[in-house]
């Protein structure tokens, strides 16, 4: 699968056991990090719970959020992360290492949501908005997010290619391979 939300292991460039989320997000924004941060509430470490949340970034701007214990993605993941102080590990990655994961719609957050929801920091929200790419901001603004999505032919092609590959693979699994249309005909229907 192309877009399975898998994030490869990055290079650890910073680790703090008493991190404030707002400060961490501000630091990531300043250094224009492409990579991810793993946040773990301090209580979680103490009691051995796996309450970690992962946020990914492109040039310092948040893209994805995932909360492992609740299997929540996107804004739900932000809501699921609780606590005041965190163990935060900051990892750097090459931008293309995140391309596949960043296509998983369910995990995406608007650029300013972490600063807003997790840090409740208006100044950080503004700073993040200032550097976020135009199309990402459109993402956050209701209907125009849909327009931006539909304008991105590459992203749509990726969704279709993946669905096509998945349909073919599963057809074999379900004994429906004989029912598959031949490639030539399917293409003309596009």
């Amino acid at each position: 699968m192309v877009a399975d939300g898998h994030i490869p292991e990055g290079e650890l460039c910073r680790s703090r056991t008493d991190a404030d989320i707002g400060e961490t997000l501000a630091g990531v924004l300043d250094r224009e990090l492409t990579g991810y941060v793993v946040f773990e509430p301090q209580g979680s470490i103490l009691f051995g719970n796996d309450e970690r949340a992962v946020l990914t970034f492109e040039a310092g701007v948040p893209v994805l959020a995932y909360h492992s214990a609740s299997d929540a993605g996107g804004h739900d993941a932000l809501d699921a992360l609780t606590g005041d102080l965190f163990h935060a590990e900051v990892y750097e990655l090459a931008a293309d290492a995140l391309t596949a994961a960043h296509q998983v719609e369910e995990l995406r957050v608007s650029p300013t949501a972490p600063a807003d929801v997790l840090a409740d920091d208006g100044a950080l929200v503004d700073r993040t908005r200032d550097v976020a790419p135009e199309d990402r901001l459109a993402d956050a603004a209701g209907t125009s997010a849909v327009e931006a999505f539909l304008a991105d032919a590459d992203r749509i092609d990726a969704i279709r290619d993946e669905a096509r590959a998945e349909a073919q693979a599963r057809a074999a699994e379900w004994g429906l391979a004989d029912q598959l249309d031949d490639e030539e005909q399917s293409d003309t229907l596009g």
Binding site: V146, I159, Q179
Partner: protein
Amino acid sequence: MVEAFAVASGKGGTGKTTSTLALGMALAERYDVTVIDADTGMANLLFHAGLDDADVTLHDLLVSDRDVAVEDAVYDRFGMSVVPCGTSLTAFEAADPSRLRDVVAELAADTDVLLLDSPAALGSKSAVLPVVLADRVVVVLQPTVPSLSDGLKVQEYARSYGTETAGVLFNRVRPDEDVETIADQAARYFGGTALASVPESDAVRAARRAGEPLLAHAPSDPAADAFHEAAGNLDVRAGDAAGVADRFRSAVVPDRP
């Protein structure tokens, strides 16, 4: 003369069952219509059609050792023939999805338009079967990124099985959503006709509570008007009923010994 449509969305909450029954009722003004709740994992249609006390359901037809005639699960409601699905998990587990093709084949022989209310998922054989069996698919969308994304996936699955898109219906459209622009953009990726844009309506919930299809409960609601428009924009193709039935019968290789 028959054409079978799978009404599909890929994502839950788009109002697929409401749409299926509304399209069915609107089409029933011109055609003989049969609606089948092919969402065998999550029966829904019976609540919308006042059939929650139905004795015999599609589940009974899908269990191999049950001696039930197909017609026993067909109910005349609101000018349509309605085949509800049962709500029992046990019955669902005992049901053989492959038998759906026989049921559909038998029903196809005796109707103009078959509507298959399809599961809002693509993760199992029974979920995919309706789009495999149907002639064409009607994709129900909301003007949101997740819904469009899932709609594209359903369309791609359907196309993989040679089932093209008859049309796209935008449903539950809020007043602040500029669906015209979105529909124009979406037309580049979705096949078929832009059927209609159905406004979000309180009447839909009220109809569901009353156990009636929207078009019976609130026939003059703007949402009902939009479903009429959608049915008018759907070009139903004449097929040969016997040929269709044969195709269904041979469509799917049973996956159980």
